[in-house]
Symmetry: C2
Subunit: 793 residues, 2 copies
Amino acid sequence: MTTAALTPELLHQMDGYWRAANYLSVGQIYLYDNPLLKEPLKLSHIKPMVLGHWGTTPGQNFIYVHLNRVIKAHDLDMFYIAGPGHGGPALVANTYLEGTYSERYPNIGQNEAGLKQLFTQFSFPGGIGSHVAPTTPGSIHEGGELGYSLSHAFGAAFDNPGLIIACVVGDGEAETGPLATAWHSNKFLDPITDGAVLPILHLNGYKISNPTLLARIEPEELEHFFRGCGWTPYFVEGDEPERMHQLMAETLDRAIADIQRIQRQARDTQDASRPRWPMIVLRSPKGWTGPEQVDGVPNTGTFHSHQVPIVVDAEHPDHVQALERWMRSYQPEELFDADGRLLPELAALAPEGKRRMGANPHTNGGDLLRDLRLPDFRASALPVPSPGAIEAEDTRVLGQYLRDVTKLNQAPRTFRLFGPDETVSNRLSAVFEVTDRQWDARTLDNDEFLAPAGGVLDAMLSEHQCQGWLEGYLLTGRHGLFNSYEAFIRIVDSMFSQHAKWLKVTAELPWRRKISSLNYLLTSHVWQQDHDGFTHQDPGFLDHVINKKADIVRVYLPPDANCLLSVVDHCLRSRHYVNVVVAGKHPMPQWLGIDDAVVHCTEGIGIWPWASNDQGSEPDLVMACCGDTPTLEILAAVSILREHLPELKIRVINVVDLMRLQPSLEHPHGLTDRDYDALFTKDKPIIFGFHGYPWLVHRLTYRRANHNLHVRGYKEEGTTTTPFDMRVLNELDRFHLVQDAVDRLPHLGTKGAYLKQLVQDKLIEHRHYIGKHGRDLPEIRNWTWNVGQPKPE
Amino acid sequence: MTTAALTPELLHQMDGYWRAANYLSVGQIYLYDNPLLKEPLKLSHIKPMVLGHWGTTPGQNFIYVHLNRVIKAHDLDMFYIAGPGHGGPALVANTYLEGTYSERYPNIGQNEAGLKQLFTQFSFPGGIGSHVAPTTPGSIHEGGELGYSLSHAFGAAFDNPGLIIACVVGDGEAETGPLATAWHSNKFLDPITDGAVLPILHLNGYKISNPTLLARIEPEELEHFFRGCGWTPYFVEGDEPERMHQLMAETLDRAIADIQRIQRQARDTQDASRPRWPMIVLRSPKGWTGPEQVDGVPNTGTFHSHQVPIVVDAEHPDHVQALERWMRSYQPEELFDADGRLLPELAALAPEGKRRMGANPHTNGGDLLRDLRLPDFRASALPVPSPGAIEAEDTRVLGQYLRDVTKLNQAPRTFRLFGPDETVSNRLSAVFEVTDRQWDARTLDNDEFLAPAGGVLDAMLSEHQCQGWLEGYLLTGRHGLFNSYEAFIRIVDSMFSQHAKWLKVTAELPWRRKISSLNYLLTSHVWQQDHDGFTHQDPGFLDHVINKKADIVRVYLPPDANCLLSVVDHCLRSRHYVNVVVAGKHPMPQWLGIDDAVVHCTEGIGIWPWASNDQGSEPDLVMACCGDTPTLEILAAVSILREHLPELKIRVINVVDLMRLQPSLEHPHGLTDRDYDALFTKDKPIIFGFHGYPWLVHRLTYRRANHNLHVRGYKEEGTTTTPFDMRVLNELDRFHLVQDAVDRLPHLGTKGAYLKQLVQDKLIEHRHYIGKHGRDLPEIRNWTWNVGQPKPE
């Protein structure tokens, strides 16, 4: 690479394109009118509130024009992820220049009126935000909460062998935990079956008002860092545009050549040995090409350029001229014709059609989305001769179904399982009968199920990575499921929020197509932790999830394996939701045969007649349950109540679809008040055993008529103890539930008092027994449901 | 270092000590009886449920005995953080061997009965968990959720110049985001005023069932990685005990010498230039010294050793002998006397008194905790001539108070502010009048407020780091406050949970002293985001927080600056809580003078008589508010209602202390039902303007008598728009609130209908105006409270 990459003419044109993008960026931040500066700038042309982020924008404009060149030169299938996503003006400007913006938003045309509209809408009520957002063509990555750009990029690259994602990483973002560990994603990428990620670290030196770490370590440390992360770093450093254009072009040519050589070699030889993929470090001034100083304070190249460099308002009228000088420094008259259209020789620099990064089909993944081939989940079903007759590990049964799903969708591969090294622990290892864990680092003899082309991303201990990869995979039109310990899904609370917000906003944009749902399987849940104890107990993700828009979130707590199969099959068919499924992995009684399970899950809530004895009349008591453990304990409590108080009419209700509890006006799955009252009655006592924090049920039902509701659930009591003792500590066990019922039925009189005494004695017996033996009473361990059905022969 | 670090005799003794710790570790996992193997092992000696993590344990035992040696040799003030904290047996064994365990738990003595008890309690109901936990002497770090060991270590090192924290980092943990970025903490540590952190990467190669990344990259990559992170790595690699002892001893000597040289040099010359601190990579087999194979499957050195290597139970009776062989391989008879006491020549290897790592005073921080010197917050108070007469930025006022707090506690420095580069943005920059941001990387001319000895940790864009550092700082007996954008505090949801659980458990341990509260200041909140929009809107941290134990969590939403001062002063005096304070940073009306503010905040909830007109009688309507923005809008709604319906008796209630709403039986701050009813009435309509998700108020009040409650708050509607329009989108604005009130007061008849029409027209006018002008109606911008008080002159 000794000759210059760019001819002087091409360099001049690319610099013009860059100036055009910079001009449009400044225009977006400031202007309300006079977009081509046809008349001298006046205060009335400036927006009443000037808002936006300039600092990162010119650097991203620089990168974009250079990526355009290599896309055209090599006919690349490439798109752009803006890690420093607050640089919204850059992506809006560039997609406008390449024409995709006007195609998506025809009212923003390629003329002066369109320019005025483009400028006005930015950071303006009813317009667009200052971040790269769902409204931005070509984006799969929201620029609000930082840290996930590289994870999204890798998620997009998996199983897309022809795709390259240019991922611009901000040097502020690079300090976040999720981004810091995401550099290691390169140990998973298969050069044969996956695409490539080209990270471009945008080292402009400052965050909001602090310098960035990676800009202030020694150059050799920076190089060591990236080599240590397994990359081959190339450095593009400087501030002189001509030299920087040449250097960037040479470097990008080299990086693309590396990627193509690596892929060709691996694919020709079928040798997937881990390559040292290229990456680029672009060290350029923050606010590059902006005003050197503002009111005597240095601006370009300092943190002062982070947002709006020059405050222009009624209190600073003299700043109007400074802004005009700045904008005219880009020489707009050399870039746009009198109608405001980019000159043809510049417009010709952009790729065409779907090669334009704003029009890359992968960035509107719903367009590429195809249904999964789904096996009949009934094939994995357990025979359940009668309720409670057998025990099974629910997630192990699901594992067989997921194995079949994986197998059916292997060519082309469009389904993946994600998890932080918990897939085996969560009893889903049947999937390893048909695929492996993806892994492209060294292997040793005793490793299990590792392969560069594995379909399960399970070999990195990072919930952030699992979530980010999965989001990237879904956003580019594929399907997946994240299996996690219930407590530790909270690590990605904020990532879930941002994805839910993305789904809400994209659902409102006509041109955005719906994508596959984000499916969580939460297991290793609060109710059985054995040695792990208190730190592993947090069922509060449900509380978090249901704060998001009802149109987006779904929560399922199947009581047994067959219900779990039915629910997951449903989730995998759904679109544009976040589905949260909570299930157990330990042996538990099975209640419903597959046909009953399908009916029950389709309804989402229902009376279990075989457990109830209120047939055809108003019950005295409703015993409701949601979740596998509460279902077991509620049924055990019912069996005690029915044995001792046979005249008591009890209705047992099981809830699979949690949102059925909410009013129908608040959630599309919500029961009408009439249906709710028909199930729960208007005033009879309800004892509700719930998997999570009990007040969540109150929060869902406070508008319902029946306030005679007593909920038991997890109340932050836990330690290393037996499964039954966990329930006792949180008063969700059968004995406490019986007490609760009796307390609500004063008419029982001495009969009730007797039963209360009996269960209190049982609790004392339990306490003594586990203190001595370290396990639950035999009668608890061996308990089975035997009410209202013939005794087993 | 050419001669061997250890004499043959010392090496032999240290190996014995290591074997003793390993023996005790295996004993904890398996044994119920026969702790000294005085008789042949039988199944009845084995616990009914064998649970625990062996894999990491022998390596940590190895590290511990070597740290003991250097502590004694150099009289070091050092403690141990166990990143792979599921290796609980190691820390329990070592604190037992050094005597601290028996001092904390006298029933577990240094004899055979004590050993039996030590073994039995492990992973046993009523005993201890299998993790390093609050119950473990010498621990400030819970071993449940991985990723925070290094952040905790650095938090402990700040402002403790004589302290060294040996921080063992697991190679699984090292894959998490928070840990990956925590390596860069070394750019903040001041070699003069802070202590040192010695990371020891425990590279044993496997996670649960996968290999670890750092174990499977090339050796030069690993070295590059750590040099790139600014460390000087030393490698200790092998599996042959004798060689490894010698190598570890030499390497530790070198690392300690490095630390001491770095500190001496910096302190002698007062040159704080960033040192390249040493770290150690210990590559040793997982499950080292365990069974080579179990049932023909390799165990030691593979992931199979992660938990319990040999399953010993009634189904595997032959495994009893394998376990016995394994345990006897440590030759317990050479280590313990017949009474079960460690032989004196081995016991002499441990440091003495407070130098024992299990007894280091920093690890029971409450013991070292001293009250802050607090200035009179009234000195920072704003004069408020009448309610609403002035505007101010609440957090800017607080900044002055925090400046004074910082100043008063600079020698010794015991108070720090933490934040992810948001301290200036959050308007707290007054603190930089008296201190700087801590920063020990390169600086440039235009940087602001950076210094190696700065007292504010604000220069790293990582909420995880802020939280982890602050926790480490508090756990070692100091004070602090974390300021964050409200939405992005969700990034540390799970870290908060784990800290809250730590507080709950330590409060129940008599020997653990209470520590200072963890204080959050959440600002840049949901109600004004300007250009940042939807991604920056999430008030749900409150929902998350109040799921934790009522004894631990406190939530405050001061309506103005003087209340904010009073609340923060209170929080800084409190102990062992998590305090969440939500406050605005934008100019807002001020309501209470400082004396009224103190009274109001002390009550936590109260009627605002100057805004109410129900004096001495039952009101027709209660208008309640919680948070600065709801307070403004409720008062504006009240002024409309009082203007148009002067005969309507309205009571205005403001809530500062959110937990006052909960029943007194559920939260110590909760109002009794009687007091609640006295404020809110039993049946009059309540219109409640709330800062966060509206259903949170329902969740807190569902047990109260008055269900005639209508709450407005954030319901996930937001975009880039004006502050008032944000309220309109979420129907929290004055006009919607007036509508809500009228809807609940049907007796108003046509008067009500007229007023409803009027406010609906206002909403239309608002919509038109912002669409055209991009800002709020002048009457909204200029609105001031002018009811019931003399007009300003």
